[in-house]
Every structure is written in C-alpha cells, then in structure tokens.
C-alpha cells in the first residue's frame, strides 16, 4: 500500500533510520574492553631516555669537512632529497625542472652573521669569520612552531624532541612562518626522484608536508647516537639536559655557550661552545 502523505513517509523514514542506527551502537556498547590479556605497547629496552634532549656543538672542532660530513650523514640516512642531482630518467621520466629556493635541508652550516643575526659585531674575533656553524632545529622548550600548528602534527614529545607527524600534517606551513630559526622545510614536490640512494630503514616523505630534523628519534629508540653526532668527530654531543651527570651538562658547566636568538624566550636546546 502506498504511503498517502509526506508526513507519514517522513515518520516511517525516521523510524527506519533509528532502526538501522541501533545495531552498530549496540555492538559498540556490547564490545568488551580489553582486559589484562590484551596486547601491550611499550618502548624497546635499549631506548635511550631523557627528560629533555639537548645538543652541544663545540665550534672549535668545526671545519668545512666535518660540516659537510655531518650534513651528508643526516641527509642520506633520512632520505632528504638533493635537488642538485639529475633524477634517473628511466625511473622518473618527465620530471619537471627544479625551482630555485625550494630545497630541503635538515642540518647545514652558516657563517656567524647568518647563524646569529642578533649578535652583530663589527670586531668579531678572526676565527669566527669563516667558521661553518652547524644550524638545525633547536628543539625549543617553548617552540613557537608547536604553538602554531593547528593539528598538532608538529608537537613536543615528553622527552623534549619537537617532532613531526607526517601523517597528520595538512601542509599549511604555519609552523614555517612561526619558526624563528628557519629550520623547517616544505615538500613542494615529490622528493623521490631526487633521492640518490634510498636508505631502507627510514621512510621518505611525500609532497605537501613540512619536515625537519627529528633528533634521530629512530636511532635513540635503538640505543644509538644521532647520525650528526657520529659523523661530527666529537664536535656534537647529544644528551639529557635535565640530568646533572650527563656529558652534555658537564660541557655546559665548563664552557660558556651561546644559543641562537636567546632573547625570544623560545629556550632552544642547541648550545654552541664558542
């Protein structure tokens, strides 16, 4: 029998909708929470722990070779694309030419005037004129990028590392505007044609997400030192700033250090022994 009025049709439709919606809701309510026999998620035993990870760079041990080696080690291990290279024409046919200025760098070197623009000095000591200062993400205690991110794709882990969740990033680049140190990079294009040799232990990223140094969280999780530390011939030390007995705290106790743009209140965790 056909329904005679719009009103009665809506009534039937409404009841049908409630009926169809009831089953999943009841299933959800009836599902048992996992008891002590459920799966467990923990960290590895060999994971290195810290209350607050920090880095000390001894500038007296820096030179062009070390700086280059550090950058190579980090970029190769993390599949950071090199836009100076020619893509493999077979694997990646029709790659568009690279646009100037859209490069990606996680750690690199700058001269004093660029690394510390707030410390202008007409009479800067000779040895600092051409010294290659390694700059990277400072994993700030009060990171403005974390404050800015609308999805918490950039967030601060409990151990102090400011890290990216590439799955969540919407590519709005607010964090890049917020960073006072220019440490962040955007994938303007698919990076894969520009990765010479893909390191198998680490993902690449895809176009449209922001990336930066992650303090080798994947290495710390295996009990290993970050790549930059290993390649730096002792110039870089990474450790727990909150542990008074750590090597990094000893270094800070013995030497005067500077940090980039200290007056902004971001509390960077990267210290430079000068």
């Amino acid at each position: 029998m056909m329904i005679k009025s719009r009103r009665s049709f809506l009534k039937v439709a409404g009841i049908a909708a409630i009926g169809m919606g009831a089953a999943p809701v009841m299933n959800l309510a009836a599902s048992e929470p996992h008891g002590s026999a459920g799966p467990k998620i923990t960290h590895n035993e060999e994971t290195l722990h810290a209350e607050r990870w920090g880095m000390v760079i001894d500038t007296s041990k820096l030179n062009e070779e070390v700086a280059e080696a550090v950058k190579e080690a980090c970029h190769k291990a993390h599949n950071v694309p090199d836009f100076d290279m020619e893509p493999d024409a077979e694997k990646f046919p029709n790659t568009r030419p690279v646009r100037e200025g859209q490069e990606i760098k996680w750690i690199w070197h700058e001269h004093f005037h660029y690394a510390f623009p707030d410390k202008e000095d007409e009479f800067l000591a000779e040895k600092f004129h051409d010294l290659p200062f390694l700059v990277t993400c400072n994993h700030c205690k009060n990171a403005p990028c974390v404050q800015a991110c609308p999805t918490q794709a950039t967030f601060k882990r409990e151990d102090g590392i400011v890290i990216m969740d590439y799955h969540r990033c919407i590519g709005c680049r607010f964090c890049m505007a917020a960073c006072p140190y220019g440490s962040r990079n955007f994938n303007f294009r698919d990076p894969r044609p520009f990765i010479e040799e893909t390191a198998p232990g680490f993902p690449t990223r895809t176009k449209g997400v922001v990336e930066k140094c992650n303090l080798c969280a994947e290495r710390l999780a295996k009990g290993e030192q970050p790549h930059c530390v290993e390649a730096s011939e002792g110039a870089i030390v990474v450790g727990d700033l909150e542990d008074p007995d750590s090597e990094i705290r000893h270094l800070l106790a013995e030497h005067y250090t500077i940090r980039r743009k200290q007056s902004l209140g971001t509390e960077p965790s990267v210290y430079y022994i000068v």
Binding site: K40, I41, T42, R157, D190, T198, P200, G201, F202, T206
Partner: protein, 127 residues
C-alpha cells in the same frame, strides 16, 4: 507501472554485482604467507581479526611510534613485534616479505589504494 519501474531500478542499482558475476572469473585472492611468515607461525593477531582490523591496528601503531616513541608490540599470544611497516626483521614486511603478493593482492582486488607507500619504502623495491 510502478512495479516495473521499481524492478528496473533494482536491476540498475545492483548492476555492479551481476556485471562482475558475468564478466570476471577472479575469485577473492588469498594473500600468500611466504618465507618467514609461513615458517614462524607467530602472528600479530589471528587471521580474521587482522583481515578486518589491520587498518585500525596500523593507525594505533603509527600514533604510538610517532607520537610516543613506543615501538614494541606484545600481542595477546605473548609474541613481540617491532611496530614498523618495513624496517627490520620483526616488521610487517620483514616477515611477510613480498608487498605485491601479500598487500597488493587483496588491495588490488578490493580497489583500495592506501597511500602508505608514498612515504614508506619497500626494501625489495630499493634493491
């Protein structure tokens, strides 16, 4: 007339199903358990749970690894795994070895293209 119209509508709406029935000879694929996976007999979850929930499990894993740094998964059967798609022996691809025969065989059939592989690397493809 209304009944005839309804019949036509039902046929039209179900067309993907009877179309497939007529044209395709492909049965639902069985993902192959190769090499280590076949031998070791230690599973993350049982077969049926994995089939329906692996997407959710991977979501939980990725949030746990990226956002908390916890990388060790101990299943209800007491076995431990490294919560990684492709890194190391105790990862998904570490055991299940071949992406094409394992992941793709079902995904292609179901017309699902997850974007995992835009970023995550497949060790076989690199070498």
């Amino acid at each position: 007339m209304i009944m005839a119209g309804l019949a036509v509508f039902v046929l039209a709406v179900l067309s993907p199903f009877w179309f497939n029935l007529i044209t395709t000879t492909m049965a639902a694929p069985k993902p192959e358990l190769l090499g280590k996976a076949a031998e070791s007999k230690k599973c993350v979850m049982d077969k049926y749970e994995m089939r329906s929930e692996h997407m959710y499990l991977l979501d939980v894993w990725r949030d746990s690894v990226v956002r908390k740094g916890d990388r060790k998964y101990t299943g209800t059967n007491g076995e431990t795994f490294n919560m990684s798609l492709s890194t190391g022996e105790n990862s998904c691809l570490g055991c299940h070895e071949d992406k094409a025969k394992f992941c793709d065989s079902c995904h292609d059939y179901a017309s699902v293209s997850p974007y995992c592989w835009d970023c995550h690397t497949n060790p076989k493809e690199i070498k």
